[in-house]
Every structure is written in C-alpha cells, then in structure tokens.
Amino acid sequence: MTDSINFSLISSEIFLLSAICIIMIVDLFQRDKERNLTFTLTLLTLVALFIFGVNQLDTVRTIIFYGHWVNDQLAVILKLAIYATTIIALLYARPFISHRNLMRGEYYLLTLFSVLGMMIMVSANSFLVVYLGLELLSLSLYALVALQRDSKQASESAVKYFVMGGLASGFLLYGISLIYGATGSILISEVANHYAENESGLIGQFGLVFIVIGLAFKFGAVPFHMWLPDIYHGAPSSITAFISSVPKIAAFGMTMRLLMEAFSTFAADWAAMVMIIALLSVAFGNIVAVVQDNLKRLLAYSAIAHIGYFLLGIVTGTEAGYSASMYYIIVYALMTVAGFGIVIFMSGEEKEYQNITDLRGMGRYHPWYGLMFSIVMVSMAGIPPFLGFWPKLEIFRQLIINGFVFEAVVAIAFSVVGLFYYLKVIKEMWFAEAADSPVITTSRSMKIAISMNCLLLLVIGLMPDSLYQYCLSAFQLLG
C-alpha cells in the first residue's frame, strides 16, 4: 500500500492545479476590469474542492507515493478549514482590491497557488514534501504582499517577509538535513521508527531544535515574532486577512506532521521548548497589544497571543491536547479573518481607516455593524457564549488534565490583559463621543459576508460541539 501510486487520493490537488492553469489562461483573455469571470471561477474551484472534501470525511489513513504522501482525517479536515477561510478572505478582498489597482488575475491565482501549497503541507509525510508545500505557500505569499507595487509600505513588508521567511525556511531546512544525517531518511514514518528504536543522540536533538525554531518563525511566536506586526501592518489589508488566518491552519498541520508524527518519542524535549515559546507569546502579545492604536497592529499582537494559547495545547503532548489546538486554530482563523475584515470594511475608496479611533460612532450610526464588530472582539477575548471561549476552555482543560495547572493560571491571567484591549475597541465604537458618522463605502457583498462571519461566531458559539467533534475525529478520539 505504501509503495503504491494512487492518483485518486490526490485528485483534489490535481484538480486545483488544473483549475489554476485554466483560470490563468482564461484570465489572459479577459478585458473586464473587475475580473468577474476570474473571481467566479476561483470561488467555484474552492467550493468544488470543499464539496469534494466533505465527501472524503471519515477517510482511512493511507500512506502512498512511497511514503511521501499521507491522506487521513486530519488532512481532510484541515483542508476543509483552509478552503472555507480562503473563501471568506476572497469575499472580503473583492471591494478592497478593486479600489486599489490590485484587481488583477494574479491576486486570485497566487491565492490559489498558496492554497495548493497548504494542501501539500498538511498531507505531507516526508520532510521534503513538507518543505515543498511550505515554499509554494511562502513564495505565493511574498508575491501577494508585494502585489501593491506603488505602495512603499507594502514593498517594504514584502522584502521583510521574504528575508524573514527565507531565514525561517533556512532554519527548518538545516534541521531537516541534520535529522536526515542522523536517521538516513526523510520519510516521517521512518524517522519515527528510527527514534522508536534508537536513542535520540546529539545530532537528532540539534536538528529538532532547528525545526522547532523554524516552526516558531512561521507561526510568529515570541521570540521569533518581530516580523509579524510589521508585515500584517504593511501588507494590503485584504492580504493581511488572508496571511494572518489561513496559513496558520496549514502550519498547524505541518507542526503535527513534524512534531507529533516524526518526533513523538521526543515529546518531552520539544514540549519544554514549545512551552516557553507559548507562555512568552501569551505574555508578550497581550501586553504589547494594549498600547496599539492601529487596529491592524493590535490584531497582529493579539495574533501572537492567540498563537501562544494555541501552542499550549500542543505542549500537553496528548492527542486530546492536539485536537484542542486544532479547534483553537480553526476558530482563530475564523475570528482573525473577521477581525481584519473590519479593517477592510472600514477602508474607503481612497483612504484606509485603520486606527481604532476611526471606529468612533459605529455603535451610534451603524449599530448593526457595531454589534457585529463587538461580537468579534468579545469572541477574541474569550467571553462565553461566543465561539472564542470554547477552544480556550478546551486548551485550559487539557492543560489541567495533564498537570500544567500553574501554566494554565499564568496563561489565563494574561487573558485578562487581553480583555482590556478588545474592550478598548468596543469602547471606541459604542462609548466615545463621535462628531459624525463613520463613512461606509464598502460593497453590499462585503456587508453580507462580514455579517455572516460574525453571526457564525455567535451561532457556533452556542452550539460548539459539532466543530469540536470533527477536531476529535482527526485524532481518532471519538468513542
């Protein structure tokens, strides 16, 4: 079975790649400034992938292509989350990019390429394929950030992102090469088998450290976070919404493949490292976010804090803990895309309104959107019954079950600090005196999309079980 070449199991990837080629050609012959056809085809591709993915649920774990590729429930569910969040991000992007000379076919194609890269990442069963997927994702993202050529800020961000991303990939690759040197294989299952029988050895541990650093760079966890606020701030908002949410889901998949599957016998080693990174991220992200006035930077620092909470679930080293992390990262993606959705929503045709104070008067003049944005904020703060509470609860529950009570107390104490800056946003929307109404020029589709996204945070929050059941099923934890 392992040695078979089974194209039916990678039909999603093949379909996406063919769709990309077709859309690329179709886009060439389009005169339409709004790129309606490209947009529609892109969305249709993602929806088709989603439907196809739903049919693949409850799949049996299969390893194919000589051990390089794995198809399991974890990959299927993560891919579904990736498609869904990408669709939301694309819906948000449309009015924004059409005002900013970004409405080009490349926008959609690069997004689709990065989706392909992420699909490869979560299904990889060898270090080489992981790296291949990661680079396909990263290169598309660098180009996406740089797409706004006439903006100094965006170009600066793109260069920063490229250099930092390259550094991170370097760390990862160096770690992989050390592991290859120690074990003689780049297949994840064989590395795992090797370490099940042999001692870890100095080279193995050395390699592991580099891999953890590479992953931490990709997540933007403290102390490897410096690039993150600048890039989230500098990139065009619609692209920030995408890069802050969807790739984290894929990065979770990659972390699972590397840490859980390849290095499960080292769990104690990497868990100690990840614990430090996680707690530092929670503390640093929450504290620094307090003093931010720019909504994008605020969300960027809050993203660092969220990554910290998410990593705490991995620290437990149990499958229940991983599923809690998975739950967290999917919910995080839904909330973050909505958070940057607010920034996109507020931006006018010419100017972008990114400061928290630009939200003044939302509650008074546009109570519906004021309410929707407040839902995003309280959900991020983890106030029940909104969706953001449940994965936090689950992470803390897993920490306590595994005896990390002190760490849970520290992390939860920082969520009180977190509450403060989320409330600051709500304060500006509802309590501050506003001379006049904030201008809303965004399109109707954006209005509908953001309302749906925010209502989703409430509705799933009231019935959080089904989403969590899927996360549990990814780790065969359903009884």
Binding site: V378, P384, P385, F396, I400, I412, V416, F431, A432, Y468
Partner: protein, 511 residues
Amino acid sequence: MIEKLPILSLLIWLPVFGGLLVLFGTGVKHKAASQMLALVIAAATLFLSLWAWSEFDSSRYYLQFVEDKSWIDSINVRYALGVDGIALPLIALTSLMTLIVVIASWNNIKHRSAHYFAAFLMMGGLMNGVFAATDAILFYVFWEAMLVPMFLIIGIWGGPNRIYATLKFFIYTFFGSVFLLIALIYLGMQAKSFDIYAMHQMVISLDVQKLLFFAFLIAFAVKVPMVPVHTWLPDAHVEAPTGGSVILAAIMLKMGTYGFVRFMLPIVPDASIAMANVMILLSLVAVVYIGLVALAQKDMKKLVAYSSIAHMGFVTLGFFISFALIANKSTDAAIMGIQGALVQTISHGFISGALFLCIGILYDRMHSREIADYGGVVNTMPRFAMFFMLFAMANAGLPGTSGFVGEFLVILASLQANFWIALLSGLTLILAAAYTLWMYKRVVFGEVANDKVGQLPDLYLREYIVMAVLAVLVLVFGFYPAPLLDIMQPSVEHLIDCNLVSKLSPEGMCS
C-alpha cells in the same frame, strides 16, 4: 402542567429572545412599541417566576423543575437546570427587579431607549441562568455573558466618567472569574462531570481545597464585593444609569453570595473552616470600616454603594460564622446564620434597589447627586419623602422592615459564637442608621435649599407604583418573613447536614 413546561428555560430564554425582539423587531424608531413590548416580556417573566414559586414544593431540599439535555458531548458539558430553595427566591427577585427597572426607566432614557430595554431584558434572562444552572460550565457561561450587557449599559448610558467605571467593572469581575474557571475545570476533571452537585460529593485534600478556596474567593469576593476588592463598586454605581445601579446592587452582588453558598461552602468546607477567621475579619472590616467610609460621602449614590458593601459584609459574616457554630455543635444557630445571610441577600435587593430608585428620581429632576445641592425636599415632594423615609429606615435595619430580619438573625447567630463579633456587627446598626438617616436629614428635611428644590414636582404615577411595590415588599417581609424562611429552610438544613461536613474523607457525606 408546570411539570411539562420547561419553566426554567422559559425564565432564561423568554427575556433573552424578548430582548432580541425589542432590539431588532421594534427598534429605536418605534419608542412606544418597544417600551410596551419590554414591559410585557418583563411582566410575563415575573409571572412565570411567581408561578414557579407557587408550584415549588418547599418541604423538600432537592432540585426541582430539573431539565437536563446534552449540549457539548465531547467535553461532557450539559444543559442542566434546576432550582432549590436558595436559588428560586433569587430568580424571583431578578425577574421582579427587571420589571421594576423597565417601569422606572420608562421615559427617562433619552437616546436609544429600545437598546436600553433590550439590554436589561437580556441581562435579566442571563442572570436567571446563573441561578438556575446546575452544570458548572453552563453556570460560567451565564456568569460571564451577563457582564457584557452591564458593560454596555454603564458605558453607553452612564455618567461623565462612565468609560473608566465600566472598564474597571468588567476587568475586575473578569479577573475574578478566570480563576473560577480554572477551579471549575479542575473539579470537573476530578468529578468526571461538570454537575455542581457531583462536585459537592467529592473528597478533596486540604491543600487542594485551599487552592480552590482562593480561586473561588477571588471570583466571588470581587462580585460581592468584599474588602479589599470592592473599589470597582462605588465607581460603577456612581456612573451607571439608575436602572444599572438597581440591577447591580439588587442582583449582581447577590451572584457573589450565591457563589459562596453554591460552590465555596459545600465544595471546600475544610479550607473554609481554616480560613473562616480571616473571612470573618474581612466581613467585619466591611461592616465597620466601610460603614465609616459611607458616613463621609458627599455623593448620595456613592453613599448607598458603600452601604451596600457594608450590608453584604453581613451576608459573608453569616456564612462564615456558621462554621464556628457547627464546631460548637450548635447546628440551629448555624442554620440561623446562613438563613439570616440569605434573607439579607433578598432584602438588600429590595432596599438598595429602592434607594437607588429614590436617588434616580431626585437625579432625574435635579441632575445632581450631591447631598449639598438638596435640602427641604419634603416641602415639595411629601409622598416621595415618605417612601424615601421607609427605605432609609429599612437600610438602617429598623424592626418591622425586611432589613431587620436578616441582620438580626446574623447577629443572633454570631452572639452564640463570639460576643465580640456580635458586638462589632451590632455596631453597624448604629452606623447604618447614622449614615442613612443623616443623608436623609440633609436631603429631605430643613428649609427649601434653593429654587430648584422649590420647584420639584412630586412623584409621577409610574414612580409611585414602583415605590409602592417595593415598600409593600419591604414591609411584608419585615413583618412576616416566614414564606422566605420556609422556602429556604430545607435547602439550608441540607447544606449544613450534608455539605458542610468535612470533605477530607468520604465519611459523613450523604448523597
């Protein structure tokens, strides 16, 4: 018929969905319609809670109107509701105060009144949920969720310094409750279920009990509030609109004392015994020191807010004095102490709510809460002065008012434990009389202080109704507290017999 009806769910969701209906159905544009709708929903909720009271079998201690449905199977959290004799009066109080707030703020809210009513209705429903939940996580969900409407109420309709006050309020209480969450998760893990009553039957070692005790203490002490974490309350009260102050004083503080009875006393009794002296000390500090602080206030609302803290000190005193009494084998006195504390909880809801309404009535006319701006109100508002007199007397604990019953029971109980504690807590009756009546004298009696006071109109019909209802309740429960005591009696006895026994070993626990 009531058996077939999910009465507790209705008590929670009728006001919540009613609030949504007011918010989106009638909206800001149809002011009259949203007012009527809010009134009807609040009245229906009160009717339901009174119906539940009349059907409640007060001869039994165990949970009634139980509902239990699966909610989040993967972490074993259930949608479980049920009330005993301690929770039901609080639900009735919540429903009553919500209705009173709706009536009292009828025309007083100048902008976005529909949103205002919607927020109060939803908050009422969520607070009913806090008292009705028997699943710890469900309890926590309601406990946190009800902070959001209150945060908005203070922040949107509050006074000039409202933003500071509301942020302080939210962050203080949230800080308290995150530790509660950790404690609940830990207990849920040990008990293999989040059922609060399963947690009551657990054997926990003393060290763990102490940690849990502190987690509970932070959460509930902030809410009650106890000294030294009381500082959010005067700020929140002063800045909140009248309705917000009423709910804050009448219900929200009671959630803290409810937490003490429901979680702290039965789950960690050994740690509570170990810490009882500290808790009694803190309660006495609240009673005496905060009483003196209240004496020095120039702002009426602040004065009543401090008096609330002092009165809640009686409640915590009643809870923790009972441990000393159980140790002395005087179970009857222990029952008396806890019952006194619970009666004080309810009665303080009426009295402090009424006092805040009185201040609100004055504020609506004068736009000032400074005692110095008033004087001689009795000359222009005699009817108001009568009601204000009654509530001030009740606040001072005059026999014949409900304020007397609870305080008297607590002092009687503490007399059996320690003469000095009783003496100190008895002192407060004098202090309470001093600050309340002195304020009353300065505001109401004397010559008409200025032209504004000279032109004050007396109570409007709407205000009259609200005042009369609360006055009747204060007097009825003052002269005849039996219904309240009866409904609580079996639950309190059960609490003492089965739950306040040592949890260090399985001996002595009864299921």
